[in-house]
Symmetry: none
Subunit: 419 residues, 2 copies
């Protein structure tokens, strides 16, 4: 990794973000858009609508970065302070920009004279600003070069306006003025059913600090994602660095590997079904439609998902899946035998290649020493017969049990499709 790469810091300004009223999706969006430019992300920060805090935040951001990209605080109201904060940070005056007023008037289809004081405020920028024309809203974007030749970019916080200004005004400028001296190649690999700690041990040598490619793991919903980021002088060198490392990670993930990059467990499951020309149905008790709903998130799922049954009540299990009342009486609704009969029953009803059943105890009530909250049985029925699986998702609340149980159900469908 070259140490001469320019560093970027992001700054979000607004009480509504700082107080957690809305989730900031601008920072992750900007970070993802900047990634291919080969700049280094130094950090990102959020401050409220307080002048002193905003000035301090700009100083902090500039102390660790060459480029600061800030969003928010450009509106017409009294708590919009970003222009003034930048002016104070550098001891420059605010200056009226007639061109901004004209652009606002044109956008609002009004005369300049008819615009009010709040628009005047939006057209009054730190002296020395270069205006970034905003074709997506009224507040102007601003590029301000500091005396130390660092660069501040100011954008509205409205995602649509931010996206327009970033893509059309800022990224082209950065590409020209900070040409990439290192090229980046990124690969993400996703696995299900292997603990992160085991993946970490298998990939340990590649996860050392300074290793190129840089390798990291994260877990979400039972899916472990390994991310590889290679840096090199050229695209082909970066790809060449990535390839052997990727092969080793694939080996470490083994049969748990289900997809790469933008794949999800649900999209990989639908893809497996489509590729193998297999149809699926499911009978869900504790997950109550979540497996079906996750599959239906994937465009094209209708080609493989025939029918789902949410058999929450025992009478529904009997009616729709032909579970025998004796089984429910002798083994209980949460049992391997009930799961097996549910899977066989829904497969026969729907006439599919594969059928999944899920029955478990999501909690918070209903658990016993023998059958604790988090206990889930699966049935997977195919032309070869019915198999069952017992899993325990312990220590989780009701909806995490259901979510994890549904993800495991998807993986069972995926593996059955590939057999």
């Amino acid at each position: 990794m070259s140490s001469t790469r320019a560093r970027v810091s992001l700054l979000s300004i607004g009480d509504e973000l700082l107080l957690g009223e809305i989730v900031d999706t601008n920072q992750p969006y900007i970070a993802q858009q900047l990634l291919p430019l080969g700049l280094t992300m130094a950090g990102s920060e959020t401050v409220g609508d307080e002048m002193d805090d905003i000035v301090a935040a700009f100083k902090r951001a500039l102390s660790r970065a060459d480029i600061v990209i800030a969003t928010g605080g450009l509106g017409p109201t009294d708590d919009d302070l970003t222009f003034e904060a930048v002016a104070r940070t550098f001891g420059v005056e605010l200056q009226f920009y007639p061109e901004v007023m004209e652009q606002m008037a044109a956008r609002l289809k009004r005369s300049v004279e008819s615009l009010g004081g709040s628009n005047l405020k939006q057209a009054t920028l730190p002296k020395g600003s270069r205006v970034l024309k905003n074709d997506w809203g009224t507040a102007p974007g601003v590029h301000f070069a500091t005396p130390e030749n660092k660069h501040i970019f100011l954008m509205p916080g409205v995602p649509r306006e931010m996206k327009g200004l970033l893509g059309e005004r800022i990224i082209p400028w950065l590409r020209e003025h900070f040409p990439c001296d290192t090229c980046i190649a990124i690969k993400k690999l996703h696995a299900f059913g292997i603990p992160e700690s085991i993946i970490g041990e298998r990939c340990k040598p590649m996860m050392q600090a300074g290793h190129n490619p840089n390798v990291g793991t994260r877990v979400s919903g039972g899916v472990c994602t390994v991310r590889l980021v290679a840096h090199a002088a050229t695209v082909s060198e970066a790809a060449a660095l990535l390839a052997p490392c990727e092969a080793r990670v694939r080996e470490a993930l083994k049969e748990g590997l289900f997809g790469e990059d933008e794949d999800s467990l649900q999209s990989a499951t639908v893809r497996a079904l489509v590729e193998r020309k297999k149809t699926v149905a499911m009978a869900e008790s504790c997950t109550a439609g979540l497996v079906a709903s996750l599959l239906a998130e994937v465009p094209g799922a209708s080609a493989v998902l025939i029918e789902g049954a949410v058999t929450y009540a025992n009478e529904a299990k009997i009616r729709t899946c032909k579970v025998r009342p004796e089984t429910l009486a002798a083994r209980g609704a949460v049992s391997a035998q009930t799961a097996a009969e549910m899977a066989a029953g829904i497969r026969e009803r729907a006439g599919t290649d594969i059928a999944l059943s899920v029955t478990g105890i999501a909690g918070p009530d209903g658990g016993t020493a023998e059958k604790p909250v988090g206990l889930v049985f699966y049935g997977i029925a195919t032309g070869a017969g019915v198999e069952t699986l017992e899993r325990k998702f312990l220590g989780l609340d009701r909806n995490l049990v259901r979510e994890r149980a549904a993800m495991q159900g998807l993986d069972l469908i995926r593996r059955a499709a590939l057999r």
Copy 2:
């Protein structure tokens, strides 16, 4: 508001956040939970998994706050650096905490001896740490008091573990050690089916800056939430300020009002069914189990949710809901007539008081000029007969159409239960 209130800064640690691969929902959650404590939010920051950056971020956070709450970087892998970063920040050693190892072993139902080096790492904390027992995962929470008597709290980034540690370990401690010198009373009211702009107009006088209680609105998933925050010297004064304002907001929300504070549309729907002793079944096409799954999120849903049918394929609509093939041929699967027959059919099959059907075009394909992506028909069947509703969720992607469609379905069940 007193200016002596303690200041809090949040820090999120992780490349996946800094690089924008995942959106950080922890910071807004923590900020919202801290709100009633009357602390001042100084700012929040995100850094990647680089030792120098993390150390610098802790120093920055401590320079502007008395309390720093950090998430992430406590995992077992080599890129989890938070404990070491805190130790470096204060020049203290890392120390092995046997109690943490024992807690991890108990949680994993293994012996201490069988745990690997990655667990040893998770049990090695900055010297002087107070362990916050994590009953929601393996990595311990940590409370570290600095030489300047400031306080650092470290939690895993996994939302479930963070929420447990924050609510059970950190907030009670903060409440005791940073008692609030101004009292805050908060009320949230939730409505469905009324546009935010109309609510904003009706509540306009209360939404002016400086109004006490402070009143704000936000929208998520079709639910509009109005939040009222009253500040006063005593709890009873704050409550007295809140009461008349709350009454006016309730009046503004009218029949759209479904709940308050921690209520969700799903919990309000289950509550309406339970209170009115009514059972429900549903036949879902485009939502594919999402309505059933949302209801099942609520503990106790099993008392009212009898059966759901995911009738994705036309043959499933015919088989399970007795939709007439002629209806499908003449009107199409996405039509008011099909919705009506689905609702009547699933109600008869399941023998419930109320039945809902949902059929629509989620996209991205399948839309036409006459039946665009986002068009959804509902049937709601009760003892009084079957009604249908047509809604258009335009300009949304596949899963937002499905999500919004499912929320509308819940509201139809809720209103039917209350009739």
